[in-house]
Every structure is written in C-alpha cells, then in structure tokens.
Subunit: 221 residues, 2 copies
DNA sequence: TCTAATTTGATACGAATGTATCAATTCATT
DNA sequence: AATGAATTGATACATTCGTATCAAATTAGA
C-alpha cells in the first residue's frame, strides 16, 4: 500500500556516469519537504515561516538554505511534489480505460481524484491560497502545472459530455470547475466540519460516502 | 440599485436619548472597512498588514488603532459586515417563497447565493483561509456565523430533498457542501480563470451561465 | 467664538521575518 | 586512518510586522 512517503531524488554517479535516483525518506531534505507541505498547506506561503518548517522537520533554518536555497524554492519543490502525486493518482487506472464505458471512466477518475483530495488536501489549499493572492506564484503555478491539468480535464470532460455522461448544454469550463470543487471542498473544509459536526471526513467511509454523493449528484443516470 | 456601499453604524443621541444609525460611506471608518475587505479577502489575515489597509484607505495606521483598536477587531468587523450582506442576499426573496414550488425555492436561493458569491468573493476567501489555518479565528467564525448558516442551509436542503428536488439517498451534509462549493468555486478561482482563459467570471452573462450550469447539474428535472 | 471631545498623522519599540555567513560536524572514498 | 566534500547548527542583519504613544488638526456643541 502506498504510504505517501516522500521520495527525494538523490542523484549520484553510477559506474558509467549515468544518474540514478534513490529514496531517502529519512533524509533532512525529505523531512523538510514533508514539513513544508504541512506548513504551506495549512498556513499558506506568507503565513508559514521557514523557522516553523525547520522546527517541524527537527532541523534548523540553515538546512533549508542549504537544500532549497530559499523559501520560494522550497515552496516550488512542494508544489512540484504534490502535482506529481496528483498525476500518479489520476493516471492510476489509465490502462483500464479502454475496457470501460465512458460513464465508468468518469466515475473512476472522479473516485481517484476524490481519494487524492482526501490524501493530499494541502495541494488544493495551496492552489486556493495563491489564487486568492493573485501574484507571481499563481502565475508560476498556472503556467507550470494548473493550465495543463485543467486543459486535460476539460478535454476529458468534453468527451464525456459528448457521450451523454453530462448534460450537453453546459459550458465545459463551468462543468470542470463545478465537478472539481464538488470533489475538493469537503476536504478543504475538513477543520470546520470536524469542529462543527465532529465528523472526520478523512475516514474511509466518509470518503466513500462523498464519492457516492458526487457521482449521484453530477452524473446522469 | 444596491451599489454595495458600506454602511457604518454611527451612533449618536437623538433628542430622547435613543440610539439611531446613519450611513457615512466616506468616513475614515468605512473606508478602512472597505480596504480591509479587499486586503483580508485577497491576502488573508496574516498575509495582509494594517499598513497595506491604511494605505489602500488613504489614511494611516493610527486610524485603525483608533476606530478598530486592533487588527483582529478590524478583521471581525469585516466578517460581521460580509455575513450581514450574505444574510440580506439569501433572504432577499424570502417573502415570495410561499408562492413558489419547492424546486423554484431552491433555484431562487441558488441564484441569489451565486450572485452573492460573485459580488463578495472575499467572504468565501476569508472563510477558506481561516479554515485552512484552523486556529482561534476559525472557531470564532464557526461559532458566530458559520454554524448558524450551515445549519439553516442543511434544514432547507433536507426539505428540498424530501420534496424530490434532490436525490433522497445522499447525505444532507454532503449535499450542502457540494452545492455550496459548486456555487462558490468559480469565483474563488477567478484570478486563475482570468489568467489562463481570459474570461471574467464576474460579468453578468458569465454569472448567469454559471447559475444555469449549477442548476442543471445539481437539480433533478 | 470658545471649549472640549473626537479624529488624524507621525514616530517609536519589541518581536518576528527571510536571508546570509561560517565554523563544526558528519560522511564517503581512498 | 586520512582527506576533502557534504551537511548541519548557530548567529547576525536588515526589514517588516502589530501595537502603543502623543501632539496636531478637526469637529461639534454651547
């Protein structure tokens, strides 16, 4: 089972000079990345400090400077890492798609996406945080990750729409944003749901319940 | 037409000692509130500084200390103000509800809510920002505003569900969060949509298109 | 007009921030 | 064991933060 470990690309020279990558999950660098995911995901970029991150990683700010050179570079490493995880999650069952009906493809990718949103809520929190601020980091996010992701989603959604999975009259862009937010929002709001209703939306049965709700609400029978 | 002006409660003694309220939209206090809505809505609480707010309001930090005593009190005033606007927007056509079908009531409140989300996207940004951080301000938000709002929405949604507007099998809580996020998200993501697709989601025709999309996707025919 | 309350503007201060520097330590390779 | 590179830990620095203080300016009431 995937335990969500962080794999740091640690390059070293092989005997013929080729680069290889190994996992060092207990390295300072990966501990820093994991801590940065948590801090940036909960406090945002300006709300989180490098001292918080260093403390959470049981090291100090010098290590951040050394491994990531600056706060902004560390943030970019976090985003790259999380988008890689997203891509893995989305593509997980891609090989099975040819044998699935158009509707089942949508159900499958919806379920995989919702499970990703529950496993890594930090990515959507970071995206929203930066979208609100609308600064240079959003533009970097948009050009390096989001645009590609949204355009692929839009293309898939359009195909599903043509196959009658979604009503044809709706603008594809609205469709994408409604479907994505329906999947994400419950996990973005998890701290409130926990506080107000004592419900842990990250539990497996709650996630499944949410998948059922989204599928039943958004997909034509 | 409602121009979204900010009404500051300015109390003074009438001739029989009773308190009255008047509007002073050009007062320093209301200029500060308007600036604070923008700063807190875009930068979040920790991301926005009182100096930014004072500068945007064409005054200085002394005025903030005087009128709102602290950054946190100013933030609470912003939240109170925006939730009042939300309540106004939701209750706008309440008198007409008895003459409407259950489905039309949902369509009406959905439309009003979406128009509110487009007019004051700052409220949902503030809520999401604080929910992410999950600190004392979220608890204040939850206890003073959100819990009431969500519980009312849940009650209404349950009635709509009983009347066949929504599928009965879905958990009401999931229904509420899916419906709310479907309405909000496009406007939360407005800076990205503008950047990536050159679409201004705050234009009236875009808002109407979004209303149609949400209604068609979420409500059974 | 005079007086007192209200409001504004400028400055000061300690705390926290990101970055930079550099000695101490650890590690890998010979 | 020796050596040099890689990594860590501690400190310093300029900047920005929220808050506090207080004199100057404005306003309101008699």
């Amino acid at each position: 089972m995937d335990n969500g470990d962080i794999a740091i690309q640690h390059t070293f020279k092989g005997r013929c000079g080729a680069k290889r990558t190994i996992m060092k999950d207990d390295s300072t660098k990966s501990k820093l990345l994991k801590a940065a995911i948590s801090i940036f995901g909960n406090q945002g970029y300006s709300g989180g400090s490098v001292r918080q991150i260093a403390e959470l990683a049981n090291t100090n700010i010098g290590a951040i400077k050394y491994h990531y050179s600056s706060k902004e570079q560390l943030w970019k490493a976090v985003v790259d890492h999380l988008f890689n995880k997203l891509s893995e999650a989305i593509m997980q069952d891609f090989a099975l798609w040819p044998s699935m009906s158009p509707r089942d493809r949508v159900v499958n990718s919806t379920r995989n996406y919702i499970y990703f949103c529950a496993k890594y809520p930090e990515l959507n929190r970071i995206i929203l945080s930066e979208t609100m601020q609308n600064g240079d980091r959003l533009h970097w996010l948009a050009e390096n990750h989001m645009r590609f992701f949204i355009e692929r989603s839009t293309a898939w959604m359009a195909i599903a729409q043509e196959n009658g999975v979604y009503p044809k009259e709706i603008s594809v862009l609205n469709l994408v944003f409604v479907a994505m937010s329906a999947a994400q929002n419950l996990f973005l709001m998890a701290p409130f749901v926990e506080h107000a209703f004592r419900i842990d939306v990250f539990k497996n049965d709650q996630i499944e319940k949410h998948v059922d709700a989204v599928v039943k609400l958004l997909l034509n029978e």
